[in-house]
Each structure stands twice: as structure tokens, then as C-alpha cells.
Amino acid sequence: MLRNWGFWLIVSQFSLVFCNQKGSFKERLDFTPLPKNNLLASFNFEIKSDTVNWYDTSSTYSHYTVFPKSLGPILEDTKTRELHLRFSQGWWDSELWGSLPQNGSQSGGTGVEVWAVIEADNKTEAEGEWIHLVNSLSGLFCASLNFIDNVITTNPVYSLQPTSNFINELPTEGDLFLFRSALPREPVCTENLTPFLDLLPSKGKNGLSSLLNGHKVYDSQWNSMSIDVETNCDDELNCHYDLKQNIHMIVNTKRVLSKLRDPLPVPTPGNELRCDRTKKHDAYYCFPLVDSTDIKIDMREIFGNIINGENTVTTEKSRVCAHTVPEVWKVLAKVNDYDSVFAYSEVQEPCYEISGTDTLNIELKTDRSDITLPLKEPPLVVSRSLTGYSQDSGGLRIDFRNPSDSEEVNFVYYQSTPWYMKTYLHTLKMTLTNNTSGESFVIPITDRSIVSYLPEFYYEPMIDRVRPSHLELKLVLPPNFSMRLAYKFDKLMLKYAEYPPDANHGFEIEPAIVTVVDKFNKVIYEARTTPALLTLPTPDFSMPYNVIILTSTVMALAFGGIFNLIVKRVVTEEQAEYYYQQNSPKLRLRRLIARISAKFQKKKAD
């Protein structure tokens, strides 16, 4: 080896030029106090991978420095160019909390949702890779993603469009296919957070990730965990993966504090009750007031942990930022329990950079927690519900409201419903209501005038046990108007083995996605509806056994009767009577005794 030293030196200098760009890692945490003593905590981790080169088949090397090796080979094997995963729990109350963090681009609907862009030569191949991908991810994230198959997968047309820049930059060898599927029934819990932390180079040991603790994250009012991988290329067509991992959670500070005080819920003792003094109050009467606005809370209370020193792997210093009204909120950074204020009136966006190996605790303090930054109103409010009560049919109703008085809203409504909901799109009716006057008018889908509100739509009807119904509507909602869409569907029968465990619980229908776009068709807001719970006719599962046993018994009885009838001799009653007399058990016994005694007498005689 040493012989070639000079040569290697030359090569290594050359290779520095073409060399891999090494990956990078940065992280950030944001606190935003919200009304009613709620607090939004947003964790943001960004990882950039080393340069990847899929098309160079001669290269047998791949290097992972900060990008997780557990994820990289999966993406490469399945030719996944973009991957998005969402694990969410709870319901976002937009009246109380305003619009979703990051305009909803990082929040999912209840359960698990996954979509990916896969490069392949044809659709069949891409479908195979998609199944391979979700199976691999299932093991990695401890989620039932392996239950995803073509029956619950759609290819969105207007929604969830890829965002990676490589699609424009790099001429791809194959075609790109977008797949999306959701598991609304999946319970999101601690076992999904551990793999999330394992993807980070700091493994939750230092930096901001040391705050994340499964018990606290999943005890929040609402939480959403997202993993997004994009492929981006620079001008020289050196491509890399950009991995963004986010956790957003809403914590009710009062609830957290009371839970810390009493792990088991107990009624508030009489002397701690806050009663309305203007009304009658004594030992028996109390009209309770809203929670006090006095708050003092720190990270140890919210997350159960404090920051365990700076993140040594990151390329930039980790930052903790607070978005508050500085006049009333005081944000303290406690390094090794020594206080220092970092958010005060003069600082516009107060942030704290973590450095050193000392522990760091952040404390939020105010006596007017009702004063928070003004809420950003979502551009569109949506809710979806099931209608009807029969076992064989039902309806779906979706309500949209445009809160703005001046701007019309352009948006895409995406919905995928399982095959056992047989939708009748011709029954779709649109009702538009003026929010102030209450005037409303109905447009059925068959009416041409619907085009001004529904300029375009995509519908792929379901096929039994093959694919779901896939509906995407491009809608326009004028200012100060509400829109209601309603259509009917039939509930189909399932086969015995197709029922999930606990079938009487009902079937979760995955959340629908609403994507608000501006006039350049750029996504400005994204939201999901709640899942719907559909009841299907559910049999008694011991039925097949009962049927077999009952029919068997009936058949055996019938056979016995008929068989005896045709093979036995028919006699008159007198004959039978006589025969019975001759052969009655009593007589037979007597005869037997007589025969035996006769034998004995014979012996004696001998």
C-alpha cells in the first residue's frame, strides 16, 4: 500500500473535487402560548444526506454520516424519491388554536398516513415497490403499515403533489408515480416515537431531542409527528435527500400541572375552587370561573426532561424560540439552574442558542396567560359527518365555511373511501349559504351551473376488494359563504374473514384532505377532517358453526325418520299390541329366569 502512497495522494486531491458532499443536521424548537392556557410546542429537525447517485449502477458504495442508514437503503431499494409519513392523534380545534402550525403542511389526520413518489418503468412495477416500501417502513416505525395494499391505496391527482426540486432538475430514467394510503385506526403511541428518535444522529441523548419523552408527547391534547424525505439537487445535479422530522404538540399547561400534582384525577378540594364572587357561593354553591391566568411552567414539567447540553452533531447551534407577547410573558433560560431572561420587550423574535454541555431548562412565566399573539385564522373551515341510520345505506355530508369577507377560496377536496362504501356520485348536491343573510340555494351535480363552484373534479369509482373510491374536487368558495356537499352511498356486505377484530366498533373512514391553493396554484394551507366511524351490518361470528351444526342435526333427524319409515315393516295396531305382549320386557325376563332355573334343575338332576 505504502508504495502507492504518492499516487493515492494525487487521487485523493482529485477526489476532493468530485467528493461526496457530507450531510448536515440542524434542529430548532418553538414555543407558542395559545389561549385557554394551551401551549404549542414545535420540534423541527432537518437532516441533509450525503450525495446520492441512484443511476450509477457501477457504484457499490453508499455512505451515511448523519442521514439514517436504516432509512437510506429502503429508499434506494424501492426507488422512492419522496416520502411523507404522518402519525397524528387528537383533533385540532381551529376556533381555539387558529390555523395549523406551518399552515398544516406537517400535520396529519388521526392515525397514520403515508405517501410517496416512486420512480419505475411502469405502474405494475411501481405498485410492487410501493408494497415493498410500506412493508419495510412497517418494521422500521413499528406501525401496521404492512396492512397497506392496493385496496386502500390511491394515486392523488391534485392533492399531495411532490415538492422535491429534483423532479424539475433531473431527467429521470423512469416515470414517477405517487401513491398514498392511510390507516385511520392505527393507535399512535410511544413505540412510534422511539424509531423517530433513532433516525436522528443525536438519538435523543443530547440537544433538543433529549426533551422528547413518549409518555409526555402522547399525553398532549393534540400531536402530530411528521417525517418528510425529499430529493433535491443542486445546479451540478448532485442530488441528496432532505429529511425533515417534525413534532407539533398542544399541551394544556393547567392539565399538565394538575396531573403532576395528582397523578390520579381527584376532585378539586373546596378551598381551591375558584368561584364566581358575583353569584351565590358558600360550602354548597359554587359557580366556577375559568382557569386562572397565572402560569409558571418549565420544560421538566411539560416534557419530563430538560435539555441535556448542546447537540454536538449539528452544523448550526440548536435554537429554542418563544413566540409570545413580551410585555406579559417572561421566558427564562436556566443553565444548570442559573436564571437568565432571553425573551423581553425589546427582542422581536426571542431565541436562545444552546451551547456547552450544561443542562438547560426553559421556563415560561406570566400572570396574564389570556394575552397571546393574535391567532391566525385558517383560510377555510371544514367538517365532515356521516348521515343516515340504516344498516344498508347512508350519506356523507361535508361542510366548508369561508371565514373571509373579501377573498374567495380555491381549494381541493381529496377523499378516499373504502370499497364497502358504494358511493353514488350522481346524488351529490351542493348547497351554498350566505353566512350573514342565511340565504341558500341548492345545485345538484347534474346542473351545469355547478361549474362555477366545481370547475374540475376527478373521480375513480371503487371496485369490490380491488380499490377504494377516490374523489378529488376542485372547489371555489365565494367570500362569506358556506358550502355543503352531500351524497349517498350503500353499505356493502363483507365476507366472514374480512371483518377486523372488534368489528362491532365500526369502520374508520380515513380523514379527507383539504388543500387551499392561491391563484398560482401554490399550496397555502392544508388541513384534514376528522375520521368518520361507519357501522356496517356485522354478523354474529359463531354463526357459521351454528349453521353447520343446526343443519346437520335437522338433516340427521329427517334422514332417520324417512329411513326408518321405508325400511321397517308396517303392521296393524292389534298385531303390534299382540307382538308387544309376547315380547314385553317383563315376559322376556320371566322366560329368561325360567330357562336358567330349568338349567339348574337339570344339573341337580344329573
Binding site: 458504495y61 437503503p73 429502503i74 338433516m555
Partner: protein, 492 residues
């Protein structure tokens, strides 16, 4: 009395009695001929028929079907061509001699062919004359398949050239292979991974703490390009590297022995050294074998960490990989000079883990290339044997468990495994070793797929004992009634 009885209950007329018997017989035959088969047919499991005969046949004749020879090419001037024939005769007789001492398991030959070699995978012998009368010698190139035999005056004069060549081939180059065929040696060292023609190597840089480190992956690439060259003909290799921080020791610091200010890893500690769950070594994408090589840099509080009785501070984990503990790093950086000695150790571990025989004087040649060739040829036969054994186990399983179903695609896999085995034997017999190895691997994969197909072992809808319980209300009364009637008819 008998007179009055016959008056009231006259004996049954003969035709009535025979009619009744006829009815019984027809009902009975409907039940037996139609009911029972129908019941069996509708409640039985599907069992496709396995080619039992063919597999048994293959298993008994596998070794006798193999007869391969290893070609050595020798270029000689025309007047010396007679040497080829003479040497060939000598080789044959020597092999026959060896075979009579310890019989070979397969038909094994060595052929000497005059002319230049046909492909890179063939062996070339070169004869060189030495000036020195006693200067005979041998040089086996470590970089290509070339053997240089230096003849001296003595050898030539005593007409010992054929003897010399044959001794070189049989005793220096192929001794190991021959010994294995004779059953004197086994290839199994216990270290090697199950063989597959796809192999993934991961080189991991593990840090006990979170201080960033940089390593020169491009020099690693260059080193491995050379080191793995010998395997590329046979194996599809993929290399992945990763850096993992906070890879905490699996062993409690207090349980480590401290000696001369060093933390000592004893042999007992080594088995639990790797933290399989936390270190991100598992790979969920492939079922292909993976070898893991780990450079472990302990955190400050457990430094220096030493492996007991190890010169290079490293150890090997059978069928898994190798570990090297590095205590001294400068500037949080691993440069080319730091990496080279480490990679040398990993390469030697890699050879052991793949199962390449070690270089032992007068058993295996020093050339790694030839040792890899020998191992791959032996692997072909091992693979074929394994594939056949898999198929035999499948037959045993299907015979023993009568309640599992055998779907059609199991048969498809079995058939394609058999086909691969036969083709692999053909290729081996016609000296196409690389193709033969590929096919023998496919044979294993197909036989595995046949054996481990999940549809075979899935729970049947009704297990056999449940079937009886469920249908008893039907079968019980019917059997009772017909049996009683049967007895009555027989009595009459």
C-alpha cells in the same frame, strides 16, 4: 300358541323382505359412494403432488453426477509439447492413487492443456529455465491466476519436469480441494456466513459519545476496490458505511476489569459487546447476508478500552462481522493513514467470514485469488447438497404433517429448484464455474421458498379435530341408524 301368533302377525312375504334389503343397500351405497367422498372433497385441504421420486433420485445420485475438472493452461514450444501428455498421464495416475487411498466424493480431475488461457478465470503455468543447476522453484502470483515454475538443470536432465509440474498442481495449488473431496478436511470452520451470491458489507464508525467525527470514506472506497476485487467475479457486493453517535457500551462500566489503567474486555464480555437493538445495525430491507465491521471509539470515561489477549485490539464475531476498538484519534478525524491498518484487519476477518481457506504452507497457496476460487468451487457442491437436502426435508415434512396444505406454487418452486440443480451440475461439468455457482444459489433460494412458503403452514379453516366435532351431529345419527339396519339385515 304359535298358531295364534302367526294368525295375528303373519311372516313377511319374501319379496317384501328382499325389497327392504334392496332399499337398505341402495341407501347405504349412496352414503358410502356419494356422501363420504363428497364430504371429504369439500372439507379436505388442497395438497399438490410433490415430485417425490425425482427428488429421492436426485439426492442419491447427486455426487455421482458431478464430474468436473480444473483446466491448467501451459504454453510450450513445439518440441516440448510431449511434456503435456506425459504430465497429464502422471496427474491422472496420481489422482487415481489418491482416490484409492481415500475415495473422492465426486469425480474430480485436473487437465493440462497446451496453449494460452482462454479467460481470466483459467490458470496459466509458465515454465522458466533457471541458470542455477539447483535453482528450481515456484512462484504463484497473488494478483492473477499465474503459476511460474522455474526448472533447473537437474530437473531437466533427470526428466523430472512432468513430476515437478504435477507436484506443484496437486500439492501446492489444489491440495486443500483434493483433501476436502477425500473427506480428510471439512470446509466448515463455524465462522462463515451462509453463502449467497449477494453480500452486503457495512463499515460502521461507532462513537460512545456525541462528539462529531469525520472519516475519509473515499480512501476506504479505494482500499476496498482493491481488497474486494477477488470476490467480484463470484459475488454481488454492496458496501455501506455509517457513523453512529451515542453508541453506548452494552456492558456496565463497573463490570469492566481495570488493568494498568486500561479497561479490559474479557472474553466473557465480548459476546455481549454488540448492542443489537440500539446500534442501528439491523437491516430491514433485505434478507441477503450482511457482514458488519465496526470501528468502536469509546467515550472518554471508558478510555482506553482493550480487548484481552488481542494484538490489534479487535475481535471476530462468527457469522456476523468484526469489531475493532480504537482509543486514539487525533482531531476527531480518521485519515487514510489511520484507516489502512484497520482495513487490513477487517479484510482478513472478511476472508474468514466468507469462508476462504487460510494460507497454510503446502495445503493452500498464498494467492488469495486461487484460495477464493477453491472455496467457490467447493461452495457449488455444498450449495447443491443443501438445496437437495431442503427438498428432502420438504418431502419429510409433507409426509409427517398430513394437515398442512401444499399449494401449487410450492410445486413450481420445487420444480424450478430441481431444474436449477440440474443446470448447475451441467455447468460445473463443463467448467463454467461462475454460472454454476449462480445456479446453485438460485437452487437454494427456490428450495427455501418452497420450504418456507407461508401459505403452507397457515392455519387451516377447520383443523381436523374440529371438523369431526362440527360434523358429529350429522355423521353420528346417520352412522348409528345405518349400522343398526346393517346388523338387522345381516341377521336375517
Amino acid at each position: 300358541m304359535s298358531e295364534s301368533k302367526s294368525e295375528i302377525l303373519p311372516p313377511e312375504p319374501e319379496e317384501e323382505r328382499s325389497l327392504r334389503t334392496l332399499i337398505f343397500i341402495s341407501v347405504f351405497s349412496v352414503i358410502v359412494l356419494l356422501g363420504v367422498p363428497l364430504w371429504f372433497l369439500t372439507t379436505s385441504l388442497y395438497r399438490a403432488e410433490l415430485p417425490v421420486e425425482e427428488i429421492n433420485n436426485l439426492s442419491s445420485t447427486l455426487k455421482s453426477q458431478i464430474h468436473y475438472d480444473i483446466p491448467f493452461y501451459i504454453e510450450l514450444p513445439k518440441p516440448m509439447r510431449y511434456l503435456v501428455l506425459e504430465t497429464q498421464e502422471l496427474l491422472d495416475s496420481k489422482l487415481a492413487q489418491l482416490s484409492s487411498e481415500h475415495p473422492f466424493d465426486v469425480d474430480y480431475h485436473v487437465s493440462l492443456i497446451s496453449g494460452p488461457k482462454k479467460s481470466d478465470l483459467d490458470y496459466q503455468i509458465e515454465l522458466v529455465n533457471s541458470e542455477d543447476p539447483n535453482g528450481e522453484g515456484l512462484f504463484i502470483s497473488p494478483y492473477e491466476r499465474r503459476i511460474v515454475i522455474r526448472n533447473s538443470e537437474n530437473v531437466v536432465v533427470n526428466k523430472l519436469v512432468p513430476d515437478f509440474i504435477s507436484r506443484v498442481i496437486l500439492d501446492e495449488v489444489l491440495k486443500y480441494e483434493i483433501s476436502v473431496h477425500q473427506g480428510l478436511l471439512t470446509t466448515n470452520s463455524g465462522f462463515e456466513i451462509p453463502f449467497k451470491d449477494k453480500l452486503k458489507l457495512t463499515f460502521n464508525l461507532f462513537k460512545g459519545d456525541g462528539l462529531p467525527i469525520d472519516w475519509d470514506t473515499s480512501s476506504l472506497e479505494r482500499y476496498l476496490d482493491g481488497a474486494l476485487e477477488n470476490f467480484r467475479t463470484y459475488l454481488d457486493l454492496r458496501v455501506e458505511t455509517q457513523v453512529i453517535y451515542f453508541a453506548s457500551l452494552n456492558i456496565n462500566k463497573d463490570n469492566l476489569i481495570i488493568e494498568d489503567g486500561q479497561y479490559l474486555l474479557t472474553e466473557r464480555n465480548l459476546s455481549s459487546f454488540i448492542n443489537y437493538s440500539d446500534w442501528g445495525l439491523e437491516d430491514s430491507t433485505t434478507t441477503d447476508p450482511t457482514l458488519n465491521f465496526i470501528i468502536y471509539i469509546p467515550s472518554e470515561d471508558t478510555r482506553p478500552l482493550k480487548v484481552q489477549n488481542s494484538e490489534h485490539n479487535s475481535f471476530l464475531i462468527a457469522q456476523y462481522g468484526g469489531v475493532l476498538i480504537l482509543n486514539d484519534i487525533v482531531d476527531n478525524q480518521l485519515s487514510e493513514t489511520d484507516l489502512m491498518p484497520i482495513l487490513d484487519i477487517f479484510t482478513s476477518q472478511l476472508y474468514k467470514l466468507i469462508g476462504v481457506p487460510e494460507h497454510i504452507e503446502s495445503l493452500t497457496p498464498k494467492s488469495p485469488q486461487i484460495r477464493v476460487d477453491i472455496m467457490m468451487r467447493l461452495k457449488i457442491i455444498e450449495n447443491l447438497q443443501l438445496a437437495v437436502d431442503n427438498l428432502k426435508s420438504l418431502i419429510t415434512l409433507s409426509k409427517r404433517l398430513s394437515t398442512i396444505n401444499i399449494p401449487d406454487f410450492t410445486i413450481e418452486h420445487v420444480n424450478s429448484a430441481i431444474e436449477n440443480i440440474n443446470q448447475s451440475i451441467d455447468k460445473l461439468n463443463s467448467r463454467e464455474f461462475v454460472d454454476s455457482l449462480k445456479l446453485s444459489n438460485e437452487a437454494i433460494e427456490e428450495s427455501d421458498r418452497a420450504f418456507f412458503s407461508e401459505n403452507m403452514v397457515q392455519q387451516a379453516y377447520f383443523p381436523d379435530e374440529h371438523k369431526m366435532a362440527v360434523y358429529l351431529p350429522l355423521i353420528g345419527p346417520i352412522v348409528m341408524i345405518t349400522c343398526l339396519m346393517f346388523l338387522r339385515v345381516m341377521k336375517k
